[in-house]
Amino acid sequence: MLFTRLCLAGALAIGTTAVAMPAQAQEITIAIGSEPSTLDPQLRDDGGERQVNDNIYETLMARTATGELVPGLAEAAPTQIDETTWEFELRDGITFHNGEPFNADAVVASVARIIDPENNSEQMGYLNTISGAEKVDDDTVRITTTGPDPILPSRMYWMKMIPAEYGTSGNIGEEPVGTGPYKFVSWDRGNGIVLEANADYWDGAPQIDKVTYRFVGESGTRLSGLMAGEFDVITNLLPEFVAAVPNAAAVDGLETSVLILGTDNEGPMSDPKVREALNLAIDRDAMVEGLFQGYATVAGGHHINPRAFGFNPDLEPYAYDPDKARELIKEAGAEGKTIRLVGESGRWLKSREQIETVAQYWTEIGLNVEIEVQEFSQYLKSLMGDGPRPDAIFVANSNELMDADRESSFIYHMDGAAASNSDAEMAKMIDDARVTTDVAEREALYHAIFQKGRDLSYTTPLFNLQDIYGMAERMDWQPRTDQKLLIKEMSVSE
C-alpha cells in the first residue's frame, strides 16, 4: 500500500514538473570581427553592418543558400517593361517593425534615398545604374536604370528596403526598423548589439528568440571566447584552428585571390610566354593543403567566383609544370630578370604567405623576384593609382553581386582601376557584355572574355577561399556563400 502510494506520488511529482517547465527562450551570442560603423543600411559598404542588418532588413529579391536568385519582398521576379524600366509586384500584407506598411511608397523612398548624391552612399558602386523608382499603385513599383542593365534584379538583392516615413526622418543610423525576422533592441556602443525575434514576421517567426552580437577583432580572442563557451558562433576562423573548436562549418566563399600581371610593362612581363610560365610554376594544390589546410579551392583559369554569372566552367586550372615553365623562361630570354611582386598584409587571409610562396616558385623557374609588402594605403596607390603598374600585384576579389561584370571591369578592362593591360578588344567585349540583355549571349561573351584572359595570362588566378565559422556544439547551421549571416537559418539543439 505504502509502496503504491509512493509510486503514485513520485509519478505525480514528475508529471507536474514536466508540465510546469516553461519553454526555454533560445538565446545565442555571435562574435563578429568588427563593430558596425552605423546601422544605417544604405550609407556604408560595411561588412559588420551587414552582418547585423541582414536580419533586420530585407530586399526585393533574395538568394537561396546556393546562390540562386529568387523573389524576396517582391511577389515574383520583375518584368521588363522596356530597355530601362523594370516592374516589380510587391508582396501583400507586410509591415515594418514600427507598424508602417511595406508598399510601393517604401520602395520609392528606399531607392530615392540611396541614389541621392547628397547622401554619398558607398553602395553606389553596386547600384550606380539605377536612376529612380516610381509608384504605379500600392503594390506595384517601377525601377528605372540609366541604360540597359541586365543585372538589375541582382542589384535589388543588394538594396535594403527602409520605411517611407521613419527611413527618411527617424534615427535610422542607430535604431534600425525593417521588415525582417529580427527586431532591433539595443546598441551598447563598443560592447554589443541585441536583437529579438519578430513574432509577426511574414514568413513565420524564427526559432531563435534573442541574439547578442559582440565585436572581437583579435582572432585569438574570438577563438578563446568560443572555447570558453561565451560565444555560439564566431566568424573568420583560421583553418589551423578548426580541429580545436567544438563545432565548425565551412562554405565556399566570395573571395578569390589573384595576381594581376603588368602586361604593358617593358621587360619580361610583356611576353605572354613568360606570363604563362609564371602560372605553370605554381603548385596550387600544395598551397591549398599547406596554407589553407584544404579550406580553399584552386581557381580555374580566372578569378571569377564559381557561383557568379559569367563564370566559365570549361576553363581548366593551370597545370603545375615547373619544367615547362623553366623552358618557356629560357626561350623568352628572361632568365635572371627581375620581377617586382607587390602585396599587402593583414587585410586578406594569408595574403603575405601566398605572395611569399608564389615568389619562391617563381625564383625556382629562374627569375629574380623582389617582394614588396606595402602598408595598406600605399598598396592601394600601387593597385589603383596613376603610377607605373607593378609587374605583379596581389588582390583578393569579392563578388558580392555574384555577377562577372564588376570583377572583369575592375581587373580585365583596360580602363579598370586595377587593370594592367591595354587590350582594347577585350575592353569592348566587357562593355558589350555589361549591357547585353540576352542572357545566353551575355554568358557567351563572358566565357569568351575569360578564355582570352587565360590564353594571354593577364592574371595569375590563385584560390577561391572558404569562409570558416566556429560554432558551439549546440548550434546547427550551414553558412551561405554570399556571406549573409542569417539567424533565421540557424537552429539550436539543446
Binding site: 558607398e122 556602443r189 572581437v216 585569438g220 595598406f376 575592375f410
Partner: protein
Amino acid sequence: MARYILARLWQGLLVVLGVTLVVFVVTRVVGNPVDLMLPLSATAEQRAAFAHQIGLDQPLPIQFARFVGDLVTLDFGESVWQRRPASEVVFERLPNTMLLIAAGLGFALLFALPLGLIAATRPDGPVDRVIVSAGLLGLSMPQFWVGLILITIFAVNLKWLPTSGATTWSHLILPAVTLGLAPLARLTMLTRSAVIDELNKPYVKTARAKGMPARRVLGIHTLRNVLIGVLTLAGWELILALSGYTVVVETVFAWPGLGLTAIQAIQRGDLFLVQAIVFVIAALIVIINLALDLLFKMIDPRIDVR
C-alpha cells in the same frame, strides 16, 4: 603661481597645435585618404565627389586654417567612418581607456611598493633575487602574448573570468593585469633601488641607533622620501599608457577604448577622427603633466617647478 600655470597652459596649447599640425599633414600626404575611406569598387567620380565633400581638394594651408577655426568651437568634424561627430566618438571611448589605465596602474602601484620594499630590505637575498627576476620577466613579456596566455588560463581553462569585452567589473581584471605588468616591474625596480639608496643614508643609521624599530624607519621616513621618485615614474607610466600603450591590450581584450578606436580610425583613413583623438590626448597629457608637477610641489615644497 597663477602666472606659472598660465604660462604652462599656453606652452601646452602650442605643443598640442604643433602635434595636431604634424598629424594633419602626414595623414593627407602619405597615401591617399580617399582610397582608404571608400570601398575598392568606388568609381573615379565618387572619389572626386567624396574628396570635395570633406574638403580634401582644397590646398593644405586652407584646410588647416578651417580646421583651427572649427577647433574654437571644439568641432572636429564628422567621423567619416561612423558618420557622427568625431568629438562624440572620442568622449564616448575616452572614459573606458581611463578606467583601464587607472585599474592597470592602480594594480601596479599596489604591488610595486610592498614588493620593492621587501626586496630592498635584504638586497641580494633569496627573496630579492626572485623579485628581481620576476621583474625582468615582466618587462620582457610582450603584452600581446601575456594577454592571450591569461585569457587561455583564466578564461578558457579555469573559466573564472570572461575572455573579452567591457560590461562588468570582472571584465576589467585581465586587461588591467596585462596592462599593469610592465609598469609593475618598472615601479618595483625603482622602489627597490630607491629604498636601498635611502637605507644607506646616514639618517637611517641614526634612527636605528636611537632605537627606532626597523618598520617605523621604513614605513614613515624612507617611504616618504621614496614616494616622489615612485610617483614621478607612475606619472610617466600614466602618460605613456595614454599616448597609445593601451592599444595592444584593448585590441586583445576587445576593450572599447580610445586606443582601439585610434587604430581602427587609422586603418580606415578616418582623418577627422584621428585628428580629434590626437588633439584630445595631447591636451590631456599637457594637463596631466601640469597637474603632476603641481602635486609634487604640494608634496615637497622644496621642489622648484619653474
